[in-house]
Structure formats: structure tokens, C-alpha cells
Symmetry: C2
Amino acid sequence: MRLSRYFLPVSKETPADAQIVSHQLMLRAGLIRQTAAGIYAWLPLGLKVLRNIERIVREEQDKAGAIELLMPTIQSADLWRQSERYDAYGPEMLRFKDRKGSEMLYGPTNEEMITQIFLSAVKSYRDLPRTLYHVQWKFRDEVRPRFGIMRGREFLMKDAYSFDLDEEGLKASYEAMFVAYLRTFARLGLQAVPVRAPTGPIGGTLSHEFHILADTGESALFYDAAIDEVSRDELLSADASSIARLTGLYAMEEEEHAKVTDCPVPPERLRTRRGIEVGHIFAFGTKYSASMGLSVQASDGSSVHPHMGSYGIGVSRLIGAILEASHDEKGIVWPESVAPFRLGLVNMRADDGSVTSAADEIYGRLQDAGVETLYDDRDERGGAKFATMDLIGLPWQLIVGPRGLASGVVELKRRATGEREEVSVESALARLTA
Amino acid sequence: MRLSRYFLPVSKETPADAQIVSHQLMLRAGLIRQTAAGIYAWLPLGLKVLRNIERIVREEQDKAGAIELLMPTIQSADLWRQSERYDAYGPEMLRFKDRKGSEMLYGPTNEEMITQIFLSAVKSYRDLPRTLYHVQWKFRDEVRPRFGIMRGREFLMKDAYSFDLDEEGLKASYEAMFVAYLRTFARLGLQAVPVRAPTGPIGGTLSHEFHILADTGESALFYDAAIDEVSRDELLSADASSIARLTGLYAMEEEEHAKVTDCPVPPERLRTRRGIEVGHIFAFGTKYSASMGLSVQASDGSSVHPHMGSYGIGVSRLIGAILEASHDEKGIVWPESVAPFRLGLVNMRADDGSVTSAADEIYGRLQDAGVETLYDDRDERGGAKFATMDLIGLPWQLIVGPRGLASGVVELKRRATGEREEVSVESALARLTA
């Protein structure tokens, strides 16, 4: 993409109303723009990151055997009356009437709807187990929206729902999602801590929150150092016994940890860090299937309420968490897996025909090789171009200037380390396409 | 995907409340499920089709130079007061108050929002022209939702907005979108007629509707036979003069045609067919930029209101149009480009170990070759499996049974023609992976 034809409104100034660094960077780097309190438009660069995160979330859901569908944003109040959550849910639920006076709401979550869809279609034990998921916009009418998309009102969430015949089946579905979550966060370049959560008003038997470690996190966590040592290989090859170990590792939020009188983790292995919650999973059993009167026929002919779980990831919120965990004083440092482009190509002298034709040629070759490139072909000062590239945080920068070209080299810079190297065009291309 | 692990609730019965064939087929083939009046959940098979359509729409928008962003579903009423459309818009607009009493609405379209986003970021002629688009859920509170997703309330739309310095620039942006639309519909396997539309309440100078030809269409069209003769090659190589020809070809809705006293098309070249509107494009000039007081600096230092156009495609509606145009008495006949899977693999005897292991092996090889396959591995009667496959309309069926295997063959069936052929496994795979 040529920057001269793109839409990337970056800003040098730190917006006064943005309190945390992720919010500041998202505004400054032209990722989002506020359109109402707690509601944001995703500008082209931000949307690309959002789509990359979605793709990784989807791939891991699919690998775990979950099946994607898509439920609408608007729901009928009657559906929520069946589960008795309509009155129980607070003012965070956006409620309204349509033109005919029917009570409707903008879905904050979908337990009721998926239960109705699934169990109106499925009648037999032979069609279980199933886990269904969707990635859809949700609305929670926060009383004080803040921190940009971290605590916004309209947000993108992946929510999955599992249906099993019995508690044992539910445990297997829960564990499959548990591991899928750890894999998802690892692929996003994030260190996640699965925190044992009180099951609370949603009910049920088992629940974990997933927190991303970041100094600016809103929760204080106490956890077993073994969590930091879980390797990617272990996640990829996780079997039943390693999953049992992983779900059992000690991790608590401060408030819960304070209640523990006999912490199983020796003091030298107990870590304290701050975290940002980006996922939450629940095994809640028959709460919805029973309250909504829905059942399937078991193999012995009896009628059973399926055991269910629900599994959420805050897809848009993850961008905030990534930024809190991955930035420096110059701007964003995207993990490779979610970067909006892999490379920023900088033409240092767009007013110089020979530099421009060299940069254009490199751009063409990068495109042919499938390297996602943002090409700064504008006629601007080099300093401003560098500042923009550092701010938007693409993993690599390739700088083409008259002096280098005279001696047959370009400059390749790694954003994360600031490391710069003068290399031939051929070797730069070889490195980037490897 | 193994059907035994999928979620595909098909039905033999024609739903009583579905009046038109596309609605009936979408319900019967398990593509959608109604969750409230005019509001639908997209089941896994339907979602795959929706995503395929989205992908083609996006690719053609990108090729035309449009840049994707994503605006939120919820908008502030104040934004619509600036353009004076808040009061003008009818009861189709879903309006409500948030918990603080701010007036909000579920966006039926985004002219105001994109104008504000773009022109608060762009100040100079050097950043024009630009065309921005998004694919987002919209809500129109239809008084009588009907025909399934064809006239639903929550629907998916691609809307693009162009910004140019002058009328001539706007004309070029309009023409680029005009051709992109024809290419999009051609790739979807549809025959589209661009109908000259009255500009109506949205104002402006030029407007076309795009209709898909189908006997059940709601509009009667009169058009120049030359439109039927536009070839894909002509669309792909369209230059300025051929675009001028295409935008000028005669096509009118009945009501408008009746007003024409001197039709330029000779009677023998005048076609009459019914159509379903799936796209609408407008060149409306400075209506929003002027009413919202937004301008950019021109090269001579003066201040100008950009000339704008807007360009919509009913993405979810397109599925209805495709089904109206492409079905037979047995069910759906998907065009290859949007089919949810390319192939249905049928195991005729899931209770026979040797048939199942042969079918499993073929399935594995199809997956390795990247052929999107729905594998009916269930222990059901062959007749029911055939009926399901014909109903869901995948382009190809591959049938593996004991008799064929004994003589080393499988049956390959083309859904569109019903043509069946006994071929070796190798030659079937070669055909499908070609």
C-alpha cells in the first residue's frame, strides 16, 4: 500500500483525554477515532490489526473443533425473560423498543440465543457434543467509558458455547477451550495467566479468567511461577494430563488470593504482576438449558438438559492489551503475528527520480513476493517519515536513500530492537521473504 | 468438515411462513434461523456463503482503490442533526436513548459519520481523492419485514464513500465504482443490470441501481439488450470510453420508463425482465460536506467542500438474490464462487468398514489438496444423504459406495446439470483439484 493513497491520520500530540498509553497510541497512530462516548471507528491500520487478531482467534477455535456461526446484534427481550436474566442484568444492557413497541436489546452476550438456536435444531444425543462460536459486536452501556477500546461500549467479542450430555463431557469441552485460549494468546505474542475465577452470578462449577501481563493492568495477580515457564511446545502437544496440570496451576486475583489461608505455592515461586483481563471461560452446566426448558434425547431414551459452557475473548480489547505490553517511547512495537503490515518501506527522497525508481522497484518486488508493505512514497522530510514509522510500529523498516544507493545498499531496521544494518537490496529482500 | 461434527439443521418441510423460494431454501438448507421479526442468525453453512460474498466484494473494492475501515453500528443522533437528516429520516431508523439519556441510533447508513471522520483528519487537497468503505451490520426498522434476509431488519451492507476536489473527480470515482460493481456481480455468477435511478431525497446528480435478474424480482425493468451482451472480458479491460458507454446504456424501472416519451432503444432491442435491487450508487456532490461545514484547502489556497459519492451493496441480500436466480426443484445450485464447500463427499455405507476407510482416505486426500469438502460420514440412508446434498447445492458430489468400489470407481456428480459419471478415484481427484 502506498501511503500517498492510504488513510493514516497520525498525530504528534498526545491526546489530552487519553489516560493510558494504549489509548494514546491508538489515537496517535491513526488506528481508531472516537465517534461517540466509548464508541470508536476502526481506521484502516487499526482494522488490519483487528482482522489479524480475529484470524488467529478463529484458527484456534476451528482447531479446537468449534464451529463458527453468526448471531445478530439485536435480540428480543423475551428471550432474556426466559432465563430470568432480563431483570437481573443491570443498566449496562442497552434496551429499547422497536417501532412496534416490542422490547429489544443490543446483545451483551448470547447464552440465551445460542441455547434457543441449538436446542430447537438438535434433538438427539447423537448430535452432541458441539461447540459453536461467533465473532460479533457487542454493546455494554458502561457508566464511565474510558481507556479507549479497553473499556468502550461497542466492542468485538468472540464467544463460544459448548453443549455436552453430561458433566464429564463439559469438562472435556472446557479443557479444549482452555488450551485453545493459551495457544491463541501465545500466537498473539502475549504472555497470558489463567486465573481461577469465582463463578459468580453466571453460576456453575468452574471458571478461569485470562489475563495479559502488563504493568498498567487493572488487576493484581498472584500466581505460580510455573505459568511463566509453560512453553509453546507444551501447549501444542498438550494431552489430557498436561491440561489437567495447566488448569490446576495456582493463580488468583488479589482479592481472592487474600482469602486463601494455605497458599499451595511456596513464597519463592509466587509471582506478583498486574494483568489485563482479555478472556473468561465458564462451565455452568444446565443453567440455561434447564431454565429455558430445552432438552435432548439421551441414548437410553430419557430426556436430558445439555451441560453447557461459555467462552469469551475480548477481540478488540486485545489490541489495547497488546499495546500496553508492547511499546516504547517512540511508539508501538507490534508482535509480528498481528502487525498491520510486515514492513515499512521509506523513500528518503521522493523528489529524486533515481531514488524513487529504485524504491518503486523494490516495492514491486516486495509485492510480488507477498510481503505486506506500507510504502511511504510521499514527498516529506526523512525525519517525519522515520517518526511515523516508529510510531506505527511495523516489525521491519527498509530505508532507501541516495547515499546508500550510490554504494549499492539500503538500510534494514528492526523496530523492536532498533538494530540497523546496511545491506544490499538482494539480501534485504532475501531476509524479508525468508 | 465431517457432517457428523457439523451443525447443519436441514428440513424436508417447506416453512409455512416463507413466501418466496430463497427464504424457503435458506431455512430448509440450514443457512439461517430467525431469532426475532426480520432478524436472523447465520448458521455455519449460511455464514460461509456470506463470507465468500464479502471476500469477493472486498477484493473488487480494493482493486478499485477503495480503502477499508470499519465504523461502529451505534451512532449519535447529534451527528444526524448536523446534516438535518435526523428529523427527515422516517421510522425505519431505530432510535433510542443510552443510560445517560443521550439520543443514539443504530446506523442505517454512514454518510454523516464518514464525512466527519474523513474531514476531521484531512485538511489538504494532496490527500484527495480517496474512497473509503466498510462492511458492517445495519438496521432498518421495516414496518413489515418479509422474504427472509431479503427484506430483514438487521442486514450486512458494504458502503463506500468517495471524496474528490471537484465534479470531474467525483465522476471518475463514480465510474470506478460502477465498473467494480459490475465485476463483483459477474464474479458472483450473477447477471446485473445497472438501472439509471432518480436521485430522490439523497440529492445529487447521478445515480444507478444494480438489479439482479430473477423472475421473482420485485421490480420490472426495461433495458437495452446490449447490457446482456457485456462480456466479462470487456469488464476486466474497461477503459474510460467503454465505461462511458456502459454507464449510458438504457435501463429503467417500469415507472420511470413509462415517463420516457422517446425511448432510445429500438423495440426489438428492448428487454423486459424482473430484477432484485442489490446495489445503489450515488454522486451527490457537496451535500454533506457543505451541510456539515467541512472543507479542505485547494492547491490555490482556497477552501473547498469535497464532492462526494456513496456506493452500497446489500451483502446479505445478495444471498437471497443468488438463490432466486439459481435453484431448481431439488434445492440450491450455488455458483462456484460463493458455494460454502466445493464438494459434498457421500459415504453410502458408513456401517461398512471397507467403504468407510475408502471414503476416509479420499477425504484426507481432498483436504490435503485444499478442496473444501463437506463429508457426509453419518450412518444414514443413501436416499436421505442425496436429498440433503441436492438441497444444499454444493457444485460437486462424490459418491463412494460398495458396488462402485468393487469395480474401482466412484460417482462424480455435477449439481448444476445433474450429470453423473463413474470414474476412478484418481481421476475424480484430478478433476476436483484441477
